[in-house]
Amino acid sequence: MVHQQQLRFSTDGRGTYNITQQISDVISKSGVMTGICQVFIHHTSASLILCENADPTVRTDLDAFMKRLVPDGDSLFKHQDEGPDDMPAHIRTILTESSLSIPINKGKENLGIWQGIFLWEHRTSTYKRNVTVTVIGE
């Protein structure tokens, strides 16, 4: 059994956005009890991560770490036309994930207790981000 649906999220600047509930809703709607949920983001400057959902400072620290690893406006970067945050956004996306696969058990996403699914916006402006969710199972 296959169920596929597209979701659209609004982001308001760099940071992580919890999308666990929206993914969970798609799984419920699919009627799949056992299987896999595949989440894919259609962009090269925003990505997906599984991260701790208890303390939000974990995610602000992750962003601070990324900012140090891939500095905005680094003179190393040749691709500067779209602003100092654009090339770092592409690299941040490659260092994280464009797609995630999550097991489905008893009709629900089988995540760890402290795991959440986050959309990580790497650009500093406001964007609309498209995500395709494909649920395959029985």
Binding site: V2, V70, L76
Partner: protein
Amino acid sequence: MLFQRTLELAAHNQGAYEITNFIADIIKESKIHTGTCHLFIHSSASALIISDIADDSTKDTTADFMAQLAPSNINANENINNAMNAIPPAIKHAYSQNELTIPVSNGRPGIGVWHGIFLWEYKSAPIERKLTITIMGDPLHKSFRLTR
């Protein structure tokens, strides 16, 4: 429905090679309309990366960043004879992905407008690579709903 194929890819020099059309052809051949396509590279010194295809400098800069992260003269382990050649690709591989899953929508790769699927070869000497593609899904048309 399940479709799987393992392919031998010709040896390439270090760099990024776009394989989007090649993947699209295999999805077409599978006759799967809605589902997922899993790509797996049988190597620990290359990666599968989705990258921006609008501007080539994005790809070049990513390569420069990776080279800065794992410089070719890194001396990680003097006991390994070919450490100079083996360690930087291993580090770059660990920081990227050797498997990738994309949606299949309307019998095509359901990826972004500016997305290209690239095989990144991290080894400096050309080497043949094996790629396994597994496509799962439904051959029938399914409604594609847009929400929110």
